[in-house]
């Protein structure tokens, strides 16, 4: 037991270290990737506000854009180490405040989609396994095929045209239910696909035959024997699902014109607002890393086989 726990904690320590290194990598990569973009925020402001070259030069010096990249990087690193992510170059407001204003909207969308995704993605395969001759089987297959064949981007735009413009059922801008549903079904399909394949595979295992011979009910076999075993594999993909939700939410926000992290990031990239883009990409990246880390740790505790690796 002690040896096992030590194995787990060693594995976790290595994983934490690795995640930290990747997070640092993201910070470095984001910074220099954005500095490679030709033109800076002063060019953009200058175009809009018709500033003279002198005014532009002054503005650049004030923002610290005249320093070398390396100098800027160290300054900025010191700042974020102290929790200060700087001011947005476009709006002169702390970026954390800008992000905070739209974060709730993105989280609402992401969580709604995730809830739909988990309920349908786990519920349908389970029901399909309990009632193998019912419409649930068909439904589970349908959402699987739907999610691998139709990209959310095109469904989203089609939904805007059909439901918002033609039928006028939903507002074309800022609507929550349509993007959440579209993204949710997509997520549900990707979960259902993996879960169903695993459940079918476990169904033919010896211990299920034993359970059946003991006289357990079908519901009990599925819920207590098949599902927990199938879930260990699905658990490994939690990080992937999380990043899919994030990317999907960004796409949906852009398609549906919903204020959120996605629209903010797009605006920031186009306006060369380095501090804002950096912070958004870093936060999102670190969120995904943490999700992956949590999934990995959970898996180590749940599935003893993983410790052997």
């Amino acid at each position: 037991m002690m040896a096992q726990l030590r194995g787990i904690s060693l594995g976790i320590a290595a994983e934490v270290l690795r995640s930290f290194a990747i997070a640092v990598g993201i910070v470095v990569l984001t910074f220099f990737l954005l500095r490679m973009i030709p033109g800076d925020v002063v060019d953009v402001i200058g175009l809009e506000g018709a500033l003279t070259y002198e005014q532009q030069a002054n503005l650049r010096a004030e923002m610290g854009l005249t320093r070398s990249w390396g100098e800027q990087f160290w300054l900025w690193l010191g700042m974020i180490a102290g929790g200060d992510f700087g001011l947005s170059s476009r709006f002169a407001i702390p970026v954390t405040q800008l992000i905070g204003a739209v974060l709730g909207s993105t989280i609402t969308l992401g969580l709604s989609a995730l809830t739909i995704g988990i309920c349908l993605g786990i519920g349908l395969p389970v029901l399909a396994a309990i009632y193998p001759r019912s419409a649930f089987v068909w439904l589970a297959e349908a959402i699987t095929i739907w999610s691998i064949t139709v990209p959310t981007f095109s469904t989203g735009i089609a939904a805007v045209v059909v439901f918002a413009v033609w039928l006028g059922m939903i507002p074309a801008i800022g609507n929550l239910s349509a993007p959440a549903l579209i993204l949710g079904i997509d997520i549900a399909g990707s979960i259902a696909k993996i879960l169903r394949e695993d459940m079918k595979e476990i169904e033919s295992a010896d211990f299920i035959r034993t359970a059946r011979a003991k006289g357990l009910s079908r519901t009990r076999i599925v819920l207590a024997h098949i599902l927990p075993n199938a879930m260990t594999v699905t658990l490994a993909l939690v990080g992937l699902i999380f990043s899919n939700v994030l990317t999907g939410a960004i796409t949906m926000e852009i398609v549906f014109g919903r204020p959120g992290i996605g629209t903010l990031a797009l605006q920031a990239i186009k306006g060369r607002d380095y501090p804002l883009v950096q912070t958004i990409i870093i936060w999102l990246g670190i969120a995904v890393i943490i999700a992956n880390l949590v999934a990995d740790i959970a898996q180590r505790f749940v599935d003893p086989r993983i410790r052997l690796r």
Binding site: I37, I157, A158, E201, L237, T247, T251, I269
Partner: protein, 306 residues
């Protein structure tokens, strides 16, 4: 039940199995060509793919209109002159759709090839070069995978200067980690096999083992992943164009069409729906073919491809 299916196929059509009662066919002139027994979805996928390829090849000669020609009627409804109507600049939607098929397919294929080459070679190098190379390569892989794909590609396109090359590079880099992951999983499976040990005993270098011995044995997994990634490249290209950062405007890609039509959803929804339907049909075809390939090359569902 069994008799309904031709011998040599299993009822689910999952894998090609030889009928045990029949002797293994010896090469000879008597063996007739038989259509492979495929599922309905796969047939649909193959037929759509074939049609798309044909359109991409003979494209410009199908439509009587020039895709970049302007007519006086703007946002016109479908008619017998303009089969799918005209867009906001009075250009023929059908002609643009057909030209877009070629561009989207070529762009997607090239981008997926870039991803395949970059991802696979990096992963093979990482696997062959021991602990440090492995850590480095897969650290970068995890790094890119942690970033949201849309934003990463977006930032990359802007950083390299928007244009065809940067779009292809950005898509390729964004999807390279997927190939790297598959390569690693397949590599680990193959590395446990006796032929790798044999090669090692014969004194083959790690690089030689990776490139000459293992690579040919994991092509199945790579081809399957290619079929999965290609449509994603096409969709992401469409998203980038939609955001105004795709290839330059004179190329009529589907994403460009979606982008310019999305400002006129009320006046001319058909202009917007045409490229979307085309995009969805093509993704459907690829998904079906990809699924079939996965069944063939990964029949035991070792789940290294998702």
């Amino acid at each position: 039940m069994r008799a309904l299916y031709p011998p040599g196929s299993d009822p689910d059509g999952r894998a090609f199995v030889l009928d045990e009662s029949e002797d293994r066919p010896v090469a000879g002139p008597t063996r007739r060509f038989r259509f492979p027994h495929l599922r309905l979805g796969t047939w649909l996928g193959v037929v759509i793919m074939g049609a798309a390829l044909a359109i991409a090849c003979v494209g410009p000669w199908i439509s009587i209109h020039d895709p970049n020609d302007f007519s006086s009627t703007v946002n016109a409804a479908p008619s017998d002159i303009h089969w799918l109507g005209t867009d906001d600049l009075g250009q023929d939607v059908f002609a643009r759709l057909i030209v877009g098929t070629r561009l989207s397919l070529v762009l997607g294929t090239v981008a997926a090839l870039v991803a395949l080459l970059a991802g696979t070679l990096a992963a093979l190098f990482g696997m062959a070069s021991g602990r440090i190379g492995n850590l480095l390569v897969f650290g970068i892989v995890d790094l890119i995978r942690a970033l949201p794909g849309v934003l990463f590609a977006l930032a990359l396109v802007v950083a390299i200067e928007p244009g065809t090359t940067s779009v292809v590079l950005a898509l390729g880099l964004a999807f390279a980690p997927d190939f790297a992951r598959i390569t690693r999983a397949s590599y680990l499976q193959e590395a446990a096999r006796p032929y790798v040990a044999a090669a090692f005993v014969f004194g083959a270098s790690p690089v030689r083992i990776a490139l000459v011995h293992i690579l040919p044995n994991i092509t199945g997994a790579l081809v399957t992943q290619f079929a999965i990634i290609l449509p994603r490249c096409i969709v992401l290209e469409a998203v980038l164009s939609f955001l105004g950062l795709g290839v330059s405007p004179e190329y009529a890609t589907w994403g460009r069409m979606i982008a310019s039509a999305s400002s006129y959803t009320e006046e001319a929804p058909h202009v917007l729906l045409a490229p979307i339907v085309a995009l969805s049909v093509l993704t459907f075809a690829f998904a079906m073919i990809g699924d079939e390939l996965r069944r063939r090359f990964d029949p035991a569902r070792r789940r290294i491809m998702t």
